[in-house]
Amino acid sequence: MDRRQFIAGGAATLALWHKNSLATAVFNTNPAPKLVWVVLRGALDSLATVIPAFDPNLATLRPTIKPDPATLTQPLSRGFYLHPSLKNLYSWYQAQQLLPIVAVSSGFDNRSHFDGQDFLESGLKRTDHDNGWLARVTAVNNDAAIAVAQSTPLSLRGGDNVNTWYPSKLKQGDDDLYAALQKLYQHDDQLLAKLNDGLKLRATTMSQQPQQKNGRFTALAKGCGKLMSAPDGPDCAMLALGGWDTHNNQTNRLNRQLALLDDGLGALKESLGEQWQNTVVVIATEFGRTAKENGTKGTDHGTASTLLLAGGAVAGGRVLGEWPGLQTRQLFEARDLQPTSHTFSWLSTLMTQHWGMNSAQAAALFDGAPSYSERLVP
């Protein structure tokens, strides 16, 4: 065996993406479902994203950062409006492929970003830092998952079939160097597995070049779609986008930031190609922000936020979630949007409707969070 064969063999014996693809093709006429989990780190302000323009308290609570009436151009059902930067998302809404759910919370009970993200990603009553909800989903049917990150985020920790991908700007080494490293790692299972995964990923995304700053999320989302739509590509993926902690100058920051998200998700759809029809993209954030604006034209850490479901496999075109109201007595601790439904229950619902689990299986993934009866998929 020469060195090149050794590399090819190493990568091929590693069954990197194998969600029963054969079984699916033979016994099931439905194409395999795909799931993309997008975490908005920093706490998205839902009142500026899925705007409750009908609620008269909004303007009182937010005298300087309330929406400019001229920007309310994207009406949703029940009197909500979608933020004007979310142009792709609005076109999906019109095509029944976007389903916003308002006043959602993970049940996380303090206001720390990092703990809130860990709690959301773990998906349990008590955070387990080595046990992510998406990893548990993949364990049920041995699905494959990819994290678009330099190292595995909590959502995918604890899974057996999880890889990370992140484009490198460096010139690539020689093949025989990789072969020599495979040999050097023969007694180190951890490093050997990472190396083989790295070689496989590189083969799939060969042409993907990293981009600077604003283009970066778009480039990552595009690469993510490319990987998922490849033959035997992964079933689930995770993306993350930071920059939502708008303690000051919120209006301008959200205009930019939501445009970035919209552009990235647009690129994801495009690179998913036909797979878009089988995909649900779940966009979540660790918690919401205060209903009232603070002293620096921003908002502070709050409680309920919004959950967005997008994709060809979503029954969209309407807004779900009971609206709790914005009067002081209706707010959580007199400051935050009151949660009326639970993130983990929505995810559990999605597992039954989109992933083909029974409700007991799905609830078990989230420490017993029950499914809802609403239809999320057609």
Binding site: R41, N110, R111, S112, H113, F114, D115, D130, A147, A149, Q150, S151, T152, R157, N163, T164, W165, Y166, P167, S168, K169, L170, K171, Q172, G173, D174, D176, L177, Y178, A180, L181, K183, L184, Y185, H187, D188, Q190, L191, K194, L195, D197, G198, L199, L201, R202, G242, H247, N248, N294, G295, T296, G298, D300, H301, E333
Partner: protein
């Protein structure tokens, strides 16, 4: 003299690795060799300070105003970005070349503990001044002084929005300013007690009130005002506050200062920081007995960081033979340069390399800083980036004193791996394999 495996542990686990000559010295008495490294850090004094950075920003602001009146745009002075980058480069170069690399590792630890991110013009210019002006000078002193200097430094006040925070009953509040909880929350969660430190939202607000009015002075040449900390009484929330069930009746600046001192002395703070130190230096799963030893020393010495580090060096638990820490990208880069005895003659490349490896200085993007355990750094793509970086480094740089490097490797690597490294098809590949060997990736 032959180098010992204890010397390698001393150099790699506590510091950023060492050259063969240094390892020989360390072999005589590794503990004393480490203890004398706790001598502090010194930066290049010719580089710009917060003062000059803030002046540049103030000058630009003024220029912008003037130009706006004329209907013109002002160009942001690029040299301020270059100057700020020079500060990050300085810390990295010093960590590579210093004979006291344990102190530089400790600086990196606290710089990450009090993480600030260079985002936007102001923070890009001043973020690196925090470690030089607030952390470095207090690195081996008492934690209370370190904490106070950091929280009062403009980089921290601006990064976590406290400079604009005004108590809701302060004079300024009537002019539309309000309370911002951001810094107070992170002090409790990240800087002192830790997230399970037993505080509540009520305590966050009490501390936010206590430090309301902690703001910054912008420099003004004409009025001879220097940049720095500024207490604005008009923005301070009047009245007493109750933090962690203790009442603070002080008025003005003294209130927040008393709160910070109590937080610095709180047993949960000792526990939290000692745990993080052991997790950083020794193992992702800190040995509870070892953490307890550090906490004890902390309590005996009023949180003296040098004493706590000496306790870490003294404890036998720190010297286990298994290497349980996977190197962070910064650790990998610095220790590679040190093993190879390379002088960073184009140091601006170092920052680019760190960015490519995923750990650009002052770009953690979160006040929690960069992660400090294996799973934060061991992704497949991250490993590929390390391989490519190592290969490129050895492609473009000449390595001197190969005999010394090989003698170091002969102690570090297992017999099998050493043989493989030595039998590689080229010198360049041999050294790339050495840097990427399991033994060198961990410490």
């Amino acid at each position: 003299m032959k180098i010992t495996s204890q010397a390698l542990i001393a150099a790699n686990r506590f510091g950023y690795g060492a050259s063969y000559q240094q390892l020989q010295i360390a072999s005589e008495d590794p503990k004393s060799w480490l203890a004398q490294q706790l001598s502090g850090v010194e930066f290049d004094p010719k580089l710009p300070s917060l003062q000059s950075m803030a002046q540049t920003l103030a000058d630009f602001k003024q220029l912008k105003k003037q130009q706006q009146k004329l209907g013109k745009k002002a160009t942001f002075p690029k040299q301020s970005i270059v100057a700020s980058r020079a500060l990050s480069i300085d810390s990295t170069v010093q960590a590579i070349t210093s004979e006291h690399s344990m102190s530089w590792r400790l600086l990196d630890f606290f710089s990450n503990h009090f993480s600030v991110t260079a985002r936007g013009r102001t923070m890009s210019a001043i973020a690196p001044t925090l470690e030089r002006e607030a952390i470095g000078p207090n690195l081996l002193g008492n934690f209370e002084d370190l904490l106070m200097s950091v929280i009062k430094h403009p980089a921290m006040l601006i990064y976590l929005n406290n400079e604009q925070s005004a108590g809701n009953d302060s004079k300024l509040a009537r002019k539309g300013k309000g309370l911002n909880e951001n810094l107070a929350r992170e002090i409790l969660e990240l800087h002192t007690l830790g997230v399970s430190g037993g505080y509540s939202q009520v305590d966050v607000i009490a501390l936010a009130n206590g430090i309301s009015g902690w703001s910054i002075k912008r420099p003004n040449k004409a009025k001879k005002i220097e940049a720095g900390f500024n207490f604005r009484r008009v923005a301070h929330q009047p009245g007493s506050q109750t933090l962690l069930n203790k009442q603070y009746k002080q008025s003005g600046l003294a209130q927040g200062e008393a709160m910070l001192l109590d937080l610095a002395h709180h047993p949960k703070t000792a526990q939290f920081i000692c745990f993080k130190l052991v997790r950083h230096f020794i193992s992702d799963q800190p040995n509870a007995g070892l953490v307890a030893k550090l906490v004890k020393r902390w309590q005996q010495t009023n949180g003296n960081i040098k004493q706590v580090m000496l306790a870490l060096i003294d404890a036998p638990e720190s010297w286990q033979s298994a290497s349980e820490k996977y190197k962070s990208p910064r650790d990998f880069l610095i220790s590679s340069m040190r093993l190879l005895n390379m002088k960073p003659n184009r140091p601006q490349r170092l920052i680019r390399s760190l960015a490519q490896l995923g750990q650009q200085p002052f770009k953690a993007g979160s006040p929690a800083g960069f992660g400090d355990t294996q799973q934060d750094w061991d992704g497949a793509s991250a490993l590929m980036a390390r391989i490519d970086w190592a290969a490129q480094l050895l492609d473009t740089k000449k390595v001197a004193n190969l005999g010394d490097i090989e003698r170091s490797l002969s102690v570090l690597l297992s017999a099998d791996n050493l043989q493989q490294v030595m039998r590689a098809e080229s010198r360049q590949q041999s050294l790339t394999l050495a840097l990427m060997s399991p033994e060198f990736q961990r410490r």
